[in-house]
């Protein structure tokens, strides 16, 4: 048979194979959360105050430093952990001492947790302590009406008054 007569068959085989590949490019569908479920995400990045305040450097300390690195004050970089608690309808679902980030432990503490909840109304309470003591110095509470596939976010802005419910 002439080579040209084989062309439709060759094209058909390739097109069929490609059609199979193309079908798998968006099928079968994937469900990332169960049906009738929404998600609440607690996510913020916040650094506690540094462990110690700046203090004047002593003469000995300055002498040990190279001339270009001599500063009148020594400021410890390290930050303490923050403590976070998150309750949904009075039940504690998250509780952690979150360490600071960074090699020198001088970065902010980071929290990023998601909670899948069936659609419904929930009382959300979140607390945070970022300084010594037993009391939580930051707290936020809100009743949210969560629908299926909703995504609600709890953020924190120290300069914006504390916890923000989106």
């Amino acid at each position: 048979m002439s080579d040209a007569l084989w062309m439709p068959a060759r094209f058909a085989v390739l097109a069929l194979f490609f059609a199979g590949v193309v079908s798998l490019s968006d099928w079968p569908r994937h469900r990332s959360v169960p049906e009738g479920v929404g998600v609440v995400t607690l996510s913020f990045s916040h650094g506690a105050d540094r462990r110690a305040a700046c203090r004047p450097a002593t003469e000995e300390e300055l002498a040990r430093l190279p001339p270009n690195m001599r500063r009148p004050e020594i400021c410890p970089r390290e930050r303490p952990s923050i403590t976070v608690e998150f309750e949904i309808d009075g039940k504690r679902v998250f509780e952690a001492d979150v360490p600071p980030s960074g090699i020198a432990s001088d970065g902010p503490s980071r929290v990023n947790r998601s909670f899948e909840l069936p659609a419904g109304s929930y009382e959300l309470v979140v607390r945070m302590r970022d300084r010594p003591g037993d009391d939580f110095n930051w707290q936020g509470a809100k009743t949210v009406d969560l629908r299926a596939a909703d995504h609600r976010v709890i953020d924190f802005r120290a300069d914006g008054g504390g916890f923000v419910f989106h």
Binding site: S25, E35, V153
Partner: protein, 534 residues
């Protein structure tokens, strides 16, 4: 087709040997079927690497075209893609589909290419370089595709963004967790989107560089499929693009969870696993598999016969072995002895696979030479020319009957497993054409079968092609015109095609003139041949 004879694997683990044999059982019928339908030259199963290159260019060209219409800002990205696929479906929409489906096919052809090279044991020894440099290409291809899905900023993009951020946030390298960029619409950053656009252009360029490095250690690398095959691939791609245009899945909305999405199972099969297993487990899987793949050439290393060696008194630096070596293991260097030639050949043992193609290409490789210790310009210490000549003489002694057929077989093809009257070689192109002349003119056999690998699956890449060209008088060293072609047959058959091989060999033998009818002429020709040769 009859029961397969497993190709001998040197120094292999049993599990790997079985895996390769199992894969060959799957690939061989595909290869042979495609060979029949497309012809050996156009066989797409034997062109998986070149097709992957071609698909890359389809993705690149369609990507450049789409970039003209794509709005790189996060606010308008989705609407610009909708404009592409909606009102302008007939040009930009088709290009979008080509861009996406060619990318999907790149994953498919890459995986098929990897498995095929593994099944043919083409990843150990000298071939480690191509295999090893291919492993990072898998990562670059995936990252290229994933960043592309991100840019559309539809529901799938949102899912990709959220899961990718979770995967990357386990490493403490970002000042602010990436996931915080995708919390709410207010958190979404246009600058982050610009970074993604940059990555989606830069990473494919790195991929291209990697693909170029991937083929550096082989001579005459093919980076383009035959034009006809390329045209067929492109036509089929356009057809499926028109049949099922690539579409977005609704705009991303960070106040919602993309709960049910059509996922691209070629690029994102691990994303659902990331949700179930957690980021660390998935990273462990990906790094573990990549490390294992990269280490495979040495698990265990390939023990090959000694590399080819140059015999300077017989080498005139003619360059034929350099031209024919499939792995760039030979080069010409300035002469180091007093012979009146400017160059001599030099073998790099680290690159030599001991296929013997160079011996077959050397004009000195003629068994007619009357020397006590038969030498040639370049020889295989494991199977030197003198031993080859002795082998054909010994094989001739075992032949009987009116139509004696000697087989010169590639050990990787169907003929390599034949019994009686067979001399096996690492590659048929190791057979100097003068050896066939020698066998027939010395009446060592009534006919010669040269049995190689299947036509489009030469184990040593170029052996089938060189053999055909030498026999056709298109490539040095030629098969002399005086060799009666009706007494020579070539059979290209894989180890799984022993049935066809036997049938073609029997048909060839049956068609040979009987010995008694030919004897006087042959004997006369043989004597003349001996006189004519140096």
């Amino acid at each position: 087709m009859t029961a397969a004879r497993p190709v001998e694997r040197r120094n292999d683990r049993a599990a790997l040997r079985f895996a390769k044999a199992g894969l060959r059982r799957l690939y061989d019928p595909l290869e042979r079927g495609a060979e029949r339908l497309f012809s050996p030259a156009l066989n797409p199963v034997a062109q998986l690497g070149t097709i992957t290159f071609f698909l890359f260019w389809v993705v690149a060209v369609s990507g450049v075209y789409l970039f003209i219409f794509f709005d790189t800002g996060v606010v308008n990205a989705y609407s610009s893609v909708e404009w592409i696929s909606g009102p302008h479906w007939y040009h930009a929409g088709v290009m979008r589909s080509l861009h996406r489906y060619a990318s999907d096919l790149m994953v498919v052809t890459m995986v098929l290419h990897l498995l095929r090279e593994f099944s043919l044991d083409r990843y150990r020894g000298t071939r480690w370089f191509s295999w090893f440099t291919g492993v990072p290409l898998i990562w670059f291809l995936y990252v290229s595709g994933i960043t592309g899905y991100w840019l559309v900023w539809d529901e799938l993009a949102q899912y990709v963004a959220v899961v990718s951020a979770k995967l990357l946030d386990v490493f403490p390298i970002f000042g602010e967790p990436l996931a915080r960029n995708f919390l709410t619409p207010a958190h979404l950053s246009g600058r982050f989107f610009s970074l993604l656009v940059f990555l989606h252009i830069a990473i494919p360029l790195i991929l291209l560089l990697g693909m170029w490095i991937h083929i550096q250690r082989i001579s005459r690398p093919r980076t383009n499929p035959p034009r006809l095959l390329a045209a067929l691939v492109l036509a089929a791609l356009v057809a499926v693009s028109l049949w099922k245009p690539a579409l977005s899945q609704g705009p991303a909305d960070l106040t919602k969870v993309p709960d049910e999405i059509g996922i691209d199972w070629f690029y994102l099969p691990l994303y659902p696993l990331a949700e179930d297993w957690g980021a660390w487990s998935l990273w462990a899987l990906m790094v573990g598999v990549s490390t294992m793949l990269a280490a495979m050439p040495w698990l265990p290393p390939f023990r090959r016969p000694p590399a080819a060696e140059i015999d300077l008194p017989n080498c005139n630096g003619c360059n034929r072995c350099v031209e024919d070596c499939p792995y760039e293991a030979i080069r010409l260097v300035p002469r180091t002895d007093d012979e009146p030639f400017p160059h001599q050949a030099e073998v790099d043992p680290d690159l030599c696979v001991s296929c013997g193609i160079c011996m077959g290409s050397c004009p000195s490789s003629t068994p007619f030479r009357r020397q006590q210790d038969l030498k040639t310009g370049i020889d295989l210490p494991g199977q030197p020319l003198s031993e080859v000549r002795d082998s054909v003489v010994a094989a001739s002694a075992g032949l009987s009957g009116e139509r004696r057929v000697m087989v010169l077989a590639c050990e990787h093809g169907a003929g390599g497993g034949d019994l009686g009257g067979v001399v096996a070689f690492p590659c048929v192109a190791m057979v100097p054409p003068s050896l066939i002349d020698f066998i027939l003119s010395k009446d060592l056999a009534d006919g010669v079968v040269v049995a190689g690998c299947s036509e489009s699956t030469c184990y040593n890449r170029l052996g089938v092609e060189w053999t055909k060209q030498r026999f056709a008088g298109e490539r040095d060293p030629y098969l002399r015109k005086r060799v009666p072609r009706e007494r020579l047959a070539t059979i290209w058959a894989s180890p799984f095609e022993t049935g066809r091989y036997e049938a073609e060999k029997a048909a060839f033998a049956a068609g040979l003139p009987a010995q008694a009818a030919r004897k006087p002429a042959a004997a006369q020709g043989g004597d003349k041949a001996m006189e004519a040769q140096p």
